[in-house]
């Protein structure tokens, strides 16, 4: 069993719930007497609330209470520390004062007896503002008040001098817009107080961080709070940290004495629950006359909010992907009137690799070398930023395998040289890269007398398949079939598990679950060999356990009988496993995307038609769900490359496409042919399963691969995402200026 279940592809253990509509998401909970909160959101991006007229709203049917900065309990700030387990991204409390820092900020919350009554009343709240000039975008921010130093900076060698003396060089600036996570499920909180205890259903990628933050904010002990998030309609980073709506729900519940549900409307999913910030990235690369990189500089600025500094670490990969003695990576931020940004799938790396891998393509062309060959010649064999070996790095193999399957050899390098009918065909590629991380984790496994195993861990399954791989790990250790393993996640009453983010859930959780399983078996053996046990004459260490059977010298007994005979409910194991030891190795995942695009200049239509991705993430625990992760990331990467941007009015910082019709994500019809190759090189330096995690890597490099293919098809180098048709068209007249 052990050999087959890890790395196999069983369908999900929670699949029946999902296909039946029975998986409970946050807003599917209806505690008795629940009231509905509906927000009133600022319609200016900068200024003050001068008056809130509630006269009409109060008369509206079903209204219970209306909260705003003049009527809201006094709460506390959280220190917002991930290490302490109380991080939030937007540190300002809702209704803390009359200030408005971004459009779509909570300025009031109406609580009523039904959703329709709450919404109707919210529309009747009349808010007056004293509007100030807003900083509407990154350029305006830099111009108005310059930049602040960020984090994650790095330098080695002398990149300036080596650039000047190099044989070939490029110097280009790339830009990425605000992208919004837009998980299908809108953020939702159902909060209930019973006396001084708070219970919250939240759509959360990190129930423990939310619990910690709520404890600080409400000034109560963490053990007075329980947060549950058994299913979430995904998050992509937007649900890592609690956002203001949850505080409004919890406070409103306490004040009204009723459970309160607050769902963030789709429009405000663009404003008050984070986004990937706008970036500008200058890339200066140089090679010697052999095409070896001699200088790499990646300088990035991202927009952040006026309340918090969020740094998009665009150069995080640039430090180590390629071998180069002279490297500079720097990050700076500038403040704009938008909500606080947050991590979005592959933070830093996704926009960073758009810039880096576009620049590498440009550098290869400048040096007259095939982009694949250029990369193979320059990939680093060790992490030069830390002077450590990689635990496992198969990027060359990934690149070669993907190139072969894609048919890269058929590419003629000249732009616009491949044509089929009305369409120009372009081939492009880029590397993928993401750090592998692993954190401490607790888990508990009970082998129950009814023949099942019961597993708990306060991590979450955000759609990646965590429920299933946890069961696979328990099955691997105990030999129990998946049908007899119950997995419970997403509840702060369980042993401490990781945030579901950063692609670290698998690597973090499985070792703890496996260790807890082994400890449960140890306890089982201890029960069996105790005075009353069925194997009282045997030493525990001589007893073996396989496929649910305890045995010694040919005498075997099902473990359920052993427990039953002693009238024991279960044998239990609790484990704590540590984080990765990063002193000996640099742990990263690698891969390559190869993309075919088709450009029809007669109707200015661009489409991504084919993608081959080879991914080196160590061992994939479940090939069915792992492949799905990469395919989904490719689709999101395609969207990032081609469609996605939250646009703001440059005059007042108001978002202008904050809805699902005009913020374009890929649809079924945009789906290209996708072929994912999962390399299978277990990384046992990282953990016993050899798994490094797979959620983020598929989106990294994807936008650059598309941009590089677009260049090959059209001869146009697009350095600003998204690659919309207007950027590729000829003959566009000068606009009339207002």
């Amino acid at each position: 069993m052990s050999d087959s279940i890890i790395g196999a592809g069983p369908r999900r253990i929670d699949g029946r719930l999902k296909v039946s509509g029975a998986a409970p998401y946050a807003a599917d909970h209806y505690p008795d007497n629940m009231a509905y909160g509906y927000g009133v959101f600022s319609t200016i991006a900068s200024g003050r609330v001068t008056n809130i007229d509630l006269s009409e709203a109060r008369r509206s049917p079903g209204v219970i209470d209306i909260f705003h900065h003049g009527h809201f309990p006094s709460l506390y700030h959280t220190p917002s520390s991930m290490m302490q387990g109380n991080k939030v991204e937007e540190t300002r409390l809702p209704f803390e004062d009359d200030r408005v820092y971004y459009e779509g900020q909570f300025v009031a919350l109406v609580v009523a007896d039904s959703l329709e009554n709450a919404r109707a009343a919210a529309y009747k709240v009349k808010v007056s503002y004293d509007e100030e000039k807003a900083i509407a975008n990154l350029d305006q921010g830099v111009k108005a008040h310059g930049t602040q130093k960020g984090k994650g900076n790095h330098s080695r060698g002398n990149p300036g001098a080596s650039f000047e003396s190099a044989a070939h060089s490029i110097d280009y600036t790339y830009a990425t817009p605000v992208e919004t996570h837009n998980p299908m499920e809108m953020h939702a909180t159902v909060a209930s107080w019973r006396g001084d205890r708070l219970h919250v259903y939240e759509s959360s990628q990190g129930v423990l961080q939310e619990k910690g933050a709520l404890a600080k904010i409400f000034g109560i002990a963490p053990n007075q709070i329980e947060v549950e998030s058994p299913f979430i309609g995904s998050g992509f980073g937007s649900k890592l940290w609690m956002w203001p709506h949850a505080v409004t729900a919890a406070a409103a519940s306490r004040e009204t004495g009723r459970p309160v549900q607050v769902v963030v409307p789709r429009q405000q999913m663009f404003t008050t629950t984070g986004h990937r910030p706008e970036t500008r990235q200058r890339l200066r690369l140089a090679t010697d006359n052999q095409g070896r990189l001699v200088s790499v500089r990646h300088e990035s600025i991202n927009a952040t909010s006026f309340t918090d500094q969020y740094v998009e670490t665009c150069g995080s990969v640039t430090k180590s992907l390629y071998s180069c003695d002279n490297v500079l990576v720097s990050h700076e931020t500038t403040r704009v009137n938008r909500g606080t940004p947050t991590s979005m799938r592959a933070p830093g790396a996704a926009p960073g690799l758009f810039a880096l891998e576009s620049a590498i393509d440009e550098m290869a062309i400048e040096a007259g070398i095939d982009p694949v060959e250029f990369r193979l010649n320059n990939y680093a064999d060790r992490d030069e930023s830390q002077d450590l070996p990689f635990s496992s790095n198969h990027i060359k193999d990934a690149t070669r395998q993907a190139a072969e399957k894609f048919g890269w050899s058929k590419r003629t390098p000249e732009p616009g040289s491949m044509r089929e009918g009305n369409e120009f065909v372009g081939y492009g590629m880029a590397a993928c890269n993401w750090e592998a991380m692993r954190f401490p984790c607790d888990a508990r496994v009970s082998l129950r007398a009814d023949g099942t195993a019961y597993v708990t861990c306060a991590t979450q399954d955000i759609g990646t398949g965590t429920y299933t791989i946890v069961a696979q790990a328990v099955s691997d250790v105990t030999g129990l079939p998946l049908e007899r393993i119950t997995v419970k996640l997403g509840d702060t009453s369980y042993p401490e598990g990781p945030l579901s983010g950063g692609s670290w859930t698998t690597a973090t959780t499985l070792p703890a679950v496996a260790e807890a399983s082994r400890k449960a078996i140890e306890q089982l053996k201890s029960h069996a060999t105790s005075g009353q046990g069925a194997f009282s004459d045997v030493a525990a260490e001589d007893l073996s356990f396989e496929n649910g059977q305890l045995s010694h010298n040919g005498r075997a007994m099902d473990y359920t009988e052993v427990l039953g005979a002693q009238r024991l409910a279960s044998a239990d194991g609790e484990a704590h496993t540590g984080g990765a030891d990063t002193s000996k190795y640099s742990f990263r995942s690698f891969g390559a995307h190869f993309v075919e695009v088709r450009w029809d200049p007669g109707i200015s239509n661009l489409r991504v038609s084919r993608v081959v991705s080879a991914i080196d993430v160590g061992r994939a625990i479940n090939t069915l769900t792992a492949r799905n992760q990469v395919e989904g990331a490719v689709v999101m990467g395609l969207g990032m490359a081609h469609f996605e941007a939250t646009d703001y009015d440059h005059r007042n910082a108001r978002p202008v496409n904050n809805n699902y019709a005009e913020y374009l994500v890929a649809t079924h019809a945009d789906q290209p042919e996708i072929d994912v190759i999962l390399l299978d090189n277990p990384d046992y330096e990282f953990n016993e399963y050899g798994a490094r995690g797979i959620g983020e890597i598929g989106i990294t490099g994807m936008a650059a691969a598309v941009a590089n293919a677009v260049y090959h098809a059209t001869g146009k180098r697009i350095r600003e995402l998204p690659i919309s048709k207007d950027k590729l068209m000829e003959g566009i007249p000068e606009p009339q200026r207002a």
């Binding site: 699949g15 509509g21 309609g233």
Partner: protein, 225 residues
């Protein structure tokens, strides 16, 4: 249809946070699907289990209140008499009043398809429908598709093909797929299915697997339903 998945109930436990008077019939769950869960004592919540399975009482008490109108909705074969305000939305009435939470709200603006269900066998966005204008209509939601433990071929195919990630758009995807597969006017080729399904956004991007599931179910629905 194939029934190899009948006995393989999910093992992710969950519970139903509703008072006994408001609980709903969780008929689609297998015996192992909704094992009793440990709920915090303070929450005083009812736990869904087989023994408690019973339909939500279909009738509102008494005459319509001020500004309300009385309507009949035939939801999943059960007639419900409800007093609703004119501005109550079909999606919200199904979720908040009948507690049929399988149908999801993704945008509330007809832009994502998560709320797709069938009205008189036609797929529509329930977020853009007034409940009051559906008086007398037959409404089919995801909860109705499976027969006891036996999943509908489309549900089974979604499970087998991993045609989801987070699962939030899944009800809508499945309801659209059922409508499309029962519609002779929609071509059976991949491109036609993709276009017809494009009103159902999957932000996780599981489109490849969804297409595979729909095409797989197509074969299995012949002769069934």
């Amino acid at each position: 249809m194939s029934d190899h998945h009948k006995d393989d109930g999910s093992r992710v436990e969950t519970f139903d946070a509703r008072s006994p008077s408001r609980r709903r019939f969780l008929k689609s769950m297998g015996a192992s699907g909704l094992a009793a869960a440990t709920a915090p004592a303070w929450a005083q919540i009812a736990q869904a289990s087989q023994s408690q399975a019973e339909p939500v009482e279909p009738r509102d008490d008494g005459a319509p209140g001020e500004g309300e109108q009385q309507i009949q909705l035939i939801v999943n074969g059960v007639e419900h008499t409800l007093n609703v305000k004119p501005n109550a939305v079909l999606l919200d009435v199904l979720r908040d009043r009948l507690e049929l939470t399988g149908t999801k709200k993704g945008c509330d603006q007809g832009q994502c398809g998560a709320c797709t269900l069938l009205v008189n066998d036609t797929a529509i966005n329930s977020c853009l429908s007034l409940a009051v204008s559906h008086d007398g209509d037959e409404i089919t939601t995801i909860e109705e598709l499976s027969q006891g433990d036996e999943l509908h071929p489309v549900q089974a195919a979604f499970w087998a093909h991993d045609a989801y990630q987070c699962g939030y758009c899944t009800s809508g995807q499945i309801m659209s797929a059922v409508a499309i597969l029962n519609d002779d006017n929609i071509g059976s080729d991949d491109a036609s299915v993709r276009e017809a399904m494009s009103g159902n956004i999957c932000r996780c991007g599981a489109y490849k697997n969804i297409l595979a599931a729909v095409q797989d179910a197509r074969g299995k629905m012949k002769g069934a339903s």
